[in-house]
Symmetry: C2
Subunit: 346 residues, 2 copies
């Protein structure tokens, strides 16, 4: 068969109309299952549509209804495993409700992020979700300009944002540090992200609260700053290990940092958890496959993605209430934590 015989453009309601001898209005109604159309006519129309391989143009419909049933999701980079899981949750929920999702990377560059949001504006998306944005407050003006709901996931910028879903950082990290304290650790380091990000600030706060509640002194030298990735964590760990009195446990901002810490600790000839305990945050897939498997705080990533999408759905349906969702983390105890050496030698 010669493919060039097929028409150069997809079938439209007009084509179906002439094929079935009705007006295109009727075709449109029939295809929407409108009760206004005679049952048999509708049947005939639907059969014809099917037969002609008709696919309604979502772009024409979008123009007519000014609802595109698309959402935009902007991520720092989809290559980040945390982000990818969140997005899979968003996509799932979106698809369940007939929405298509536009994906765009910001590379954590604010200008690019703004540009991406603007491009979503041109696409006339019905809503936007942003994960781990570093832009934060910059959105407010864009938002009111675009008049489209935006929900942020783990917003990195301090300060309140209209709609967001966030992990309960303080509680979760308090629990993680408590776990170390109960094991007998006294010298617990915090290996953070760069300063100024909300989740770092909050996880750090949880760390301090746990120390306080246990009447343990806060030792500034045990605070190290990474960059949320293995490389930065390696350097930070290096410093911690070089301390006159190095920590017996390290609570890391995230699993990526823990990966770097683990590598560096091993390189120093120390063992985890015998010499030093390690706790991460996120519960990335790899946490289960490190040696030893990593104790960490699980973020329900996919669920958070779904939640964000469902929140967006509500907002797109007209809800006016500010949505501020906090989801609890879950401490997953694996094999990277144990009592400190001193404790074991007693």
């Amino acid at each position: 068969m010669n493919v060039f015989k097929t028409p150069p453009r997809p079938a439209s309601i007009k084509d179906i109309a002439v094929a079935t001898g009705v007006s295109h209005s009727t075709v449109s109604r029939a295809l929407q299952d409108s009760p206004l159309v005679n049952r048999e006519t509708a049947e005939k129309i639907r059969r014809a549509a099917q037969h002609m391989g008709y696919r309604a143009s979502a772009v024409a419909r979008g123009l007519a209804t000014s609802k595109t049933r698309t959402i935009g999701v902007v991520v720092t980079t989809i290559a980040d495993p945390f982000v990818a899981e969140v997005v899979s949750g968003i996509e799932e929920a979106a698809n369940d409700h007939g929405y298509s999702v536009f994906l765009a990377n910001s590379n954590a560059e604010p200008e690019r992020e703004i540009k991406v949001v603007h491009s979503f504006g041109e696409r006339r998306v019905d809503g936007i979700v942003v994960t781990a944005s570093r832009v934060g407050a910059l959105y407010v003006p864009i938002l009111s300009e675009m008049r489209v709901p935006i929900v942020l996931i783990n917003n990195q910028h301090p300060g309140e944002f209209l709609h967001s879903v966030m992990i309960a950082n303080v509680e979760a990290s308090r629990e993680a540090v408590n776990h170390l304290i109960k094991l007998g650790h006294r010298l617990i380091a915090y290996l953070g992200d760069r300063f100024g990000h909300q989740s770092d600030t909050e996880r750090f706060a949880g760390y301090r609260q746990a120390l306080e509640q246990a009447d343990l002194p806060f030792l500034p030298e045990l605070i190290a700053h990474g960059d949320g990735r293995p490389e930065g964590a390696e350097r930070a760990t290096q410093k911690l290990l070089a301390l006159p009195e190095p920590p017996t446990a390290v609570f890391c901002y995230n699993d990526m940092s823990a990966l770097g810490a683990l590598k560096r600790i091993r390189a120093a000839g120390l063992r985890v958890p015998e010499d030093i305990s390690l706790v991460g945050f996120d519960d990335l897939f790899v946490a289960e496959y490190t040696d030893p498997p990593l104790t960490t705080v699980r973020q329900p990533k996919r669920h958070m993605g779904r939640l964000a999408m469902e929140t967006l759905l509500k907002l797109m349906a007209g809800s006016q209430s500010a949505e501020h969702i906090r989801v609890p983390g879950e401490l997953i105890v694996r094999a990277s934590t144990a009592p400190p050496p001193s404790e074991r030698c007693r």
Copy 2:
């Protein structure tokens, strides 16, 4: 300021037209930087547009031009790190050329994959890229129906497809196995994916070729079947280790499998690479952070994504030639491979 004062719909060229006292045709031309418009008028129009926060409707333009400047990418799941990296390459290249990308998960279910492709059809995407599809041949009819170019990345289905970019599996795995042979290994296992997938078949072929060229016997008992993920690989590894004469090296279908193998080998009280060498495929991010760091074949994931997008761009521009791109893998030797025990004791 009261946000409800702002108009309920975005500004259109008509609004700009009345604001500047020209026709909307002229506005349209000016905004397209058409040389047909008087320089000063154009300037005035552009200023007004800027001032009114005008964002051209991509959906209206799409309807008018029947080019949406969108592409659809269908993935098994974006939560797969391999896929996520590929997609980041696609997105990058797409964005460079002013294309937006729709993302959809198929969950490796053929029906869902078809559904997703149809939904892309309704969105009137200009092109589609599919990663690691299990559907393969099913596309051909859909394709001719949709009349939109499709390029596949690492197509899992045997048989030729019109346009694809694939890793050079045979060559790469031959090289990987050669590396093991040169180290002195004689009993080299292949831990594959399920049968019938093109990349598994090809990697297996490379394995056999390497053995043949080295005049090593092919031992069927050294072939184990996983599922491309750690769990399946663990079971497969179990079997290999239980062999009367277990392998001294395992070449894995992918890094995920290697992760499972590594875990199981450790659980058996054996060391990598002292007792058994391990090679993966993909060079996922984690390969660098396992203990020991994993020797593996690097797939230039992001690059392959870019390549797919660039191929698509050509096709969308009207190219008729069949594109069949093979990109070479690169053996990355890390610390999970060493001479076999026998070799070391001599």
